[in-house]
Each structure stands twice: as C-alpha cells, then as structure tokens.
Symmetry: C2
Subunit: 343 residues, 2 copies
DNA sequence: GGATACTTTGAAATCGATTTCAAGCATTGC
DNA sequence: GCAATGCTTGAAATCGATTTCAAAGTATCC
C-alpha cells in the first residue's frame, strides 16, 4: 500500500473539514461527542496517522531530544541514556543519540540539529566543548541541559555529583585502611571531573596530614589503556605507594591488567579504588571498590527538567542538582589480612 | 536571538528568488558560479540553516533511521549501534534509538514512527515481534532491516551469524578438552538464536557420539540472573557434568557467580563457554572463553544495505549476510593441568 | 542579424498538518 | 418572537522549504 492516508481523506470520509479532524486528534477544542465518535471511527477504520513532518512544521516543534555522550558502550553513559529515554518516551518525546567517540568536532556538528530545528533540545553528557560555546547556544534561545558539569546560565539545567566530596571519602577510606602513600590516576585534563577529583584527593591528604608527592599523580585519559600505561609509569618510578585511586573504573581496569602481568596482588600489595561502578567492576577478582552514581535517576531527572523548561518558558530556580554518590567498598580496597602499610 | 533566518531572508539579501537559494543549498541544478558565490556569501553571513521540518515535508523523507535493541547497556548491542551510527552519520542520516528493555509492546510502539513518517527506515536488532508482523510492515512499503535473524522477504536485508556452526565448534572444543558431560544453558525460548544454538549443541553431541541427556539443558533467559538460577538447578540435579555451554556471556556471568558461591573452580571443576564476547568477559578470572561476532561491522554493513535499499528502489539479490564468528579460547575452558574428565 | 537551442532564474504550486477567524446553529433571556 | 450569547464547525491562511513550469537571457549557427 503506497497510498498513505492524509487528513483530508479522513475528513472526506467522515463528512467534516480537516480542521475538525485535527481538533479530534489533538483533543483540544470542544468537539461534539457525536462528531468526535464519527471521526474516530473513520480514523480507526483507515488506520490514519498524522504525518510528523507536516505536524512539526506547523507546530514548530519536533518532540525530539538529542543526547550527546562520549561513548555509548560505556555502561556509565548507557545507564544515563536509559533514564533519559524512558522519561522522554513517557512524555511523548523521541530521543536521538550521538556517540562522539570523544570527538569534539562530532559534538559540535550534532549540536547543529538545534539550529536546523531537527531537535527541540539537547542533553550534553560530559561535554568536551567549552563553556563559552555552551553559553552561546543557550543565548541563541536553544534548550540545553548538562550532565556532569555545572554551567551558570539561568536556562541550563545541570546535574552533577560532588566529585570533591566523594574523592575525599575515597582517600579517607584508603587512609583508614592504613595507606599513606596513595597514587592517583587522573582522567583527561580538559574535563572538570578530573579537576575536581584531583582537588578532593589533595584536600583529603591535607586533612590527614599526609604530605603530597606530585610524582604519585599520572594521567590516564579515562580509558583502560590510559590507566594501564599510567600505572606502569608509576611502578617504574619505584615509589613505595600501596594504594591507587583511579578517577574511573575503566582506568582501574588497566591497573588490574598491569597488576596481573606484573604479578602484583590486589589488594594485598596494592589497594585499588575506582569511580563509576561500571557493570564490569563487581565481576572483577577481587571486586573493584568504586563510587556509585545514580546514573539512571540522573538522566531521568535532568530530562524531566529539560522538558519542563521547554514547555513553560519560566526559568525555575531549581536548576542545578548536586547528587550524592555512595562508596561501594569491595575487595580491591580492603586488606583482609590487615597487613600494615609498609611506609 | 529569537528570529530565525529563513530562506526568503537569504533570497532577499542576495537579490535572488528562494528557488535559487534552494538550488545553491542542494547544489543540484546549474547555478552560475557568480550567483552561487553571491548566495553562499549571504548564507554564511547570516549563518542560515534550512528548517528540517519544512525540508522533510517537501522532500518526503527525514534522513533518519530508527534502531530497536533489547538493551542498550549490553555491550553486544551498543557495539552494533556504534557501527550503525557511524555509517549512518557519514551518509547524513540521523539515528534514533529505542531500548525496549525486552518489552515487545515498546517495540511495536516504536515501529509506529514508520507510519508517521518520522523515520525513513528501521533496523530491528534481535526482534521480539513475530515474523508475520515484520513481513506486514515490509509489505506496507516500509524499509526494515534485521540483525540476528533471517526473514524471507525481498525487501528486508538481514545479517546474522551462523549459530549452528559456532555452537558445534564450541561443543567440539569442549569435547577435545576431554569433556563428555556438557550442560547447556539456553536463552529465551522465543528467540531463534536459542533454537539454533541448541541445534548446534545437539548436532555436535551426535557427531561425537555422545549420548544426549535432556536433564543437562536449562533455560536462562539470556540474562545474568537467569544463568545463575539455571546453573544452580543443574547443580541440584547432581549430574556429573564437567563443562557448561552458556548461550551468551551474560548467563555465563551467572555461572561464575554461582561457582564462586559454591566454591567450584573454573575451569578445573567446571569448564565454561559463553557467546558474544561482551566487554566484560576477558576481565573475568579466569577470562571467559566465548564466541566473538564482528558486532560493529555487522551494524555498519546492514545500515549500508538499508540505505542503499531506500535510495535505489531495486532489490539487490545480496540481501542476507551470514557472518562467520570466531572462537576466543580463554582460561575458562582450558584446563591447564590437563586433568582428565571424570566420566 | 536573426532564428534556434540551451542555460539560468523566478513565480507559484506543493508537501500535510494546525490555527485563526468568521459563519452557522442552538440556546437563553427578556 | 427576537436579540444576544455561546458552541461547534468550516474556509482559508500558514509553517518553510522544494520543484515545476515558464520566462528571460545567452550562446550558437547559418
């Protein structure tokens, strides 16, 4: 069947004007129950469904939200997407996803969909583009939301975890376990997350009166290979550290690989702590201690806020959400033999 | 800036008709290099971008492809999505994703986007809906592609792996390792994959003249919990099996959990083999032997075919792709001590 | 130089819905 | 019974691009 049914066809068959059919569809204006029934009957008979392009053009909205993530196959991001998707669908919105593969250009290119009015709004998860660029987009009147970073603009809802806070907790936990020489593998330099987690690490050391050694910090770029190479560089320095705090689980995975190759026992010889609670972490041997963020809920909450913002044009004062994370203490950071730190 | 620039604005400023601007944009018809330059200059000056809804309405296409997967956070599916997305974007198509969470209703609902002309075509990954329903959609003139299953319709491109073939290989490998009592944990009953993998399992047994014991088969529904419960049921039967073939890695994960709880050593006391090569598998202890499918390439190939099909209306004879998988033999299925099977 | 063919450009129709504005109709009140 | 009021419905404009068809302009050939 190539001939698609249009609103005029329905109108004809029902003996009414297209306007009336439209009113029935959008059950807005008052339509007599009698005509409504008559029209509905024809709609069902013909299996009519309104053409979305026409609808979008006239109503000036697409009921579509874009989501930009660095890597869809990282469970951290896919859980956020799930939260976004479910809420969006329940509110009749569609979701278009862009996996940038950490490519800033792709991020920018995708944002063009706002200008072409292909999407009504966009959610940036762990954005790479600059704050200025984000602000510029918002100033153009577009609706944009951010996960994982705070942007100061009355029209940009943000949701983020308190990186500094949980980083302090992680380091404190390691100190309580008896560690004093704690290495830190940081993520990509341009990410705020990296910056904040480092800040938490430093603060915690200060709190516990542990001197800070810059040589104990290496960059791992938030991926497995980066983590692997970072820990090898740390090993090669021959420093006496007994614990490592990796700024995410992916990099901790690299630490596990290096330890396995060098026959270093976790946690007996090296305690490891990650961040993100990736799907994978609990299945490692030993299970990886990590920081759990309510990813699904974060996505859900933000998209809800975003949709609200698109509907009412008022800017709610409740715009920035700082979510608490919980530490998941597992085998990788608890030394069952309570072996003392060889300071 | 609320005032968006329209094609007439550009036309005005450039002193030409909208039609000419349109021709420049779609660089189709012959436009004098001089006028083209003049128009392009204005387009760049104003930062004009055509409204997509208007474009879609007039051109009767949306340059958007829908993708339906059961679970976006399963790396098996997200890798396929990546392949689809990358190729699609390179061909100027957008991708809308639907995570059904194994919900058949959501699958059907999403397919409505075809009828409303919100998407030009759709890719179903491991579909739950019946073949009849799929055929019906194709007969309505919609473009639809399938990953993981074969549908016989000249307009439906399919890509799938030869389940029977690799299942035979897996079981043969286990036999070569000395196993004769091999349990099988199957996936959801309605999936063809389950059916075919079981067939491979049975065929292999026959080939090796190993008697078939129905009690050695349990269903695990393709998820971790299902695998966990299935292996416990098998244990409780007190049968002397020494190897288990799980129809996917997720269920194998459940097997690992059960073994860890019951203190059963893998692979010494129980060899384990999975399917999918999930991100997680190689990081398990011991690393999980599994079957690797070229997920990314499969997604990429299928979407390419789908787009071709939407452009030329001819049906290419090259429609069904059976992809070969490779066995990844890792620690979970190789008994380093070469301990004999206690048959 | 003028007829012919070809190229470039513009005016207007079109895609398929929504929405405004006015007309038609029924109801109410005096 | 007639004017005023309130609902329901329809005709036509609209959203912003593309595309058809015709007109204008230019090149070619005899």
């Amino acid at each position: 069947m190539d001939t698609t049914i249009k609103i005029v066809d329905v109108a004809h068959r029902a003996g009414v004007a297209p306007a009336t059919v439209s009113r029935v569809l959008n059950n807005s204006s008052q339509v007599t129950p009698k005509t409504r029934a008559k029209v509905m009957k024809i709609i069902n008979e013909l299996g009519y469904q309104p053409n979305s392009a026409a609808k979008n053009l006239r109503s000036q909205k697409t009921m579509t939200i874009g989501v930009i993530v660095p890597d869809i196959s990282n469970s951290y991001f896919s859980e956020i997407i799930k939260g976004i998707e479910n809420i969006a669908y329940s509110k009749k919105y569609k979701v278009v996803i862009c996996d940038t593969a950490n490519n800033e250009e792709k991020e920018l290119e995708f944002l063009n969909l706002l200008t072409t009015r292909t999407i009504d709004g966009v959610i940036l998860v762990a954005p790479m583009i600059s704050d200025e660029e984000i602000l510029k987009i918002a100033d153009h009147g577009h609706t944009i939301g951010i996960v994982g970073k705070q942007i100061d603009h009355e029209r940009i809802p943000c949701i983020l975890t308190d990186n500094v806070k949980f980083s302090i907790q992680v380091v404190s936990h390691l100190v309580v376990q008896g560690h004093r020489n704690i290495a830190f593998i940081n993520g990509s330099a341009h990410a705020v997350d990296s910056y904040d987690r480092l800040e938490g690490y430093l603060k915690a050391l200060r709190e516990h009166h542990i001197p800070f050694h810059p040589e104990l910090i290496e960059n791992g770029d938030f991926n497995e290979t980066g983590g692997y190479e970072a820990i090898l560089r740390l090993f090669d320095k021959k420093l006496p550290f007994t614990a490592v705090f990796a700024a995410n689980d992916e990099m901790a995975l690299g630490v596990y690989r290096a330890c396995s190759e060098r026959n270093i026992q976790i946690p007996m010889q090296l305690a490891v702590f990650g961040v993100d609670n990736n799907r994978i972490s609990r299945y490692l041997t030993p299970p990886l201690s990590t920081v759990n963020q309510p990813k699904y809920a974060m996505g859900a909450l933000l998209v809800e806020k975003l949709i609200d913002m698109m509907h009412e044009n008022e800017f709610s004062e409740n715009r920035v959400f700082k979510i608490d994370s919980e530490l998941l203490i597992r085998g990788s950071s608890v030394n069952r033999t309570q072996q003392k730190d060889q300071d």
